[in-house]
Symmetry: C2
Subunit: 249 residues, 2 copies
């Protein structure tokens, strides 16, 4: 199956054709795309203000991708000393980042986010690809205030599991007031980092419209945050672990 | 003009057609694509081992994109206190990251890299999009050793301008021995960080086949490293600055 991944405005694809002559074609193209699970057509989308293609996977395709990913991540050679899971190659893989980003885009598209937010480092590729699939910008909170980004807004938070203080900051101009923020991260254990990100959203006078997590650990069962959507569960029993796809929605 | 950005294997696009029946179509499609500056067809490309589409921009398109980017980056409101240039929104923008990544991919495709390497944080999106356009993986060096990535190889380096020690590390399994490494970063001033990255490549028994830099500062003229390819120059005179596209190659 072809891997979707890029937004063309149909006005572009149609070359010099006037928009009114394209509209019937748009409806027909959309009918075929939705039937075949490739995505949907968005009117008045993108900087050109025309129509565009959002490469959103169908539920069937999403489940197939996540089944494959769960199997890949459950491989025994990903089990590191200290009970950690090696997923660096997956989250930095362009191929996986595109597919995960498109899944998040499809899940959160109805919430109409205007920007994606993540915190460095491993969440950046999937957050970037989510933003790309939705045609919106990305903001990245830093662990230390970057002196080269102008005025920043920072805060401290309590790590949910390690009981340590963490800090993060974001350039003032990176997140406009009133933004509808889709927060994306690769891993959620206790939820402390995500709690910090959500506090940061509020400090910027913005609103979090959704939270997408690639992998949520089953333990601890009680998290600092609620209302997030994980794609995968990490289930750890002693030194063994496996990854399961979260069923639905 | 349509923005290219994704690899479809032509075998996929052709559905169930046997590869041999597709090959004449491949030649014809390639002829048209190269003529129109959209990219080229790569045989035996990607995990499926078929043929694929590398979305490489033509020299004309590259110059147009870089002219637009130089103008955007020269805007006075990007001038921060302390003489810094605000480019966070650009390097984290999916739209710009895709276009910059495709330019690097086109420039370095002939050197046949097998992996892209960058160092966190701001270089990650353009490095990811370069890797995506080339159909190869990405490795990301960390400023501090990440305890969750298994054994790492780290080193210290002297920052070229600040005369400070920096450190970086990379998971042992992130960069296979013998890799042909395309090193990508967003900014080069003294070259100390890039020197560290190139040392890291050697420590992994790999070889750097190219170094791509988004913005190189004109000052200091003497850098710690040589042989890199910048796309833009930052020229700073007192408190004023502007960005120029590097001519050629």
């Amino acid at each position: 199956m072809a891997e979707p991944g890029v937004s063309h405005t149909l006005a572009e694809l149609g070359g010099e054709a006037a928009k009114s002559t394209v509209s019937e074609d748009v409806a027909e193209v959309e009918r075929v795309m939705v039937e075949e699970g490739h995505g949907l057509i968005e009117r008045a989308y993108g900087p050109s203000g025309g129509v565009g293609y959002l490469p959103l996977p169908s539920p069937d395709r999403r489940e197939a991708v996540l089944d494959e990913l769960a199997m890949e991540l459950s491989r025994p050679d990903r089990h590191l000393q200290g009970g950690f899971l090696y997923l660096t190659d997956i989250v930095f893989s362009p191929r996986w980042a595109v597919r995960i980003g498109e899944i998040f885009a499809a899940l959160f598209y109805p919430t109409r986010p205007t920007i994606v937010l993540t915190v460095e480092t491993k969440g950046i590729p999937i957050a970037l690809m989510t933003a790309r699939a939705l045609g919106i910008p990305l903001a990245v909170a830093r662990r230390e205030a970057a002196t080269t980004e102008g005025p920043t807004l920072g805060l401290n938070y309590l790590s949910g599991t390690a009981r340590r203080m963490g800090s993060m900051s974001l350039a003032r101009r990176a997140l406009p007031e009133g933004s509808r923020v889709l927060v994306i991260d690769d891993f959620l254990k206790g939820g402390g980092t995500m709690g910090g990100l959500l506090d940061l959203v509020r400090e910027f006078q913005a609103v979090a419209t959704g939270v997408g997590i690639l992998i949520e650990t089953a333990e601890p069962q009680e998290k600092v945050v609620t209302g997030y959507t994980p794609l995968l569960h990490l289930i750890q029993v002693g030194q063994d672990f496996h990854i399961e796809r979260v069923k639905g929605p």
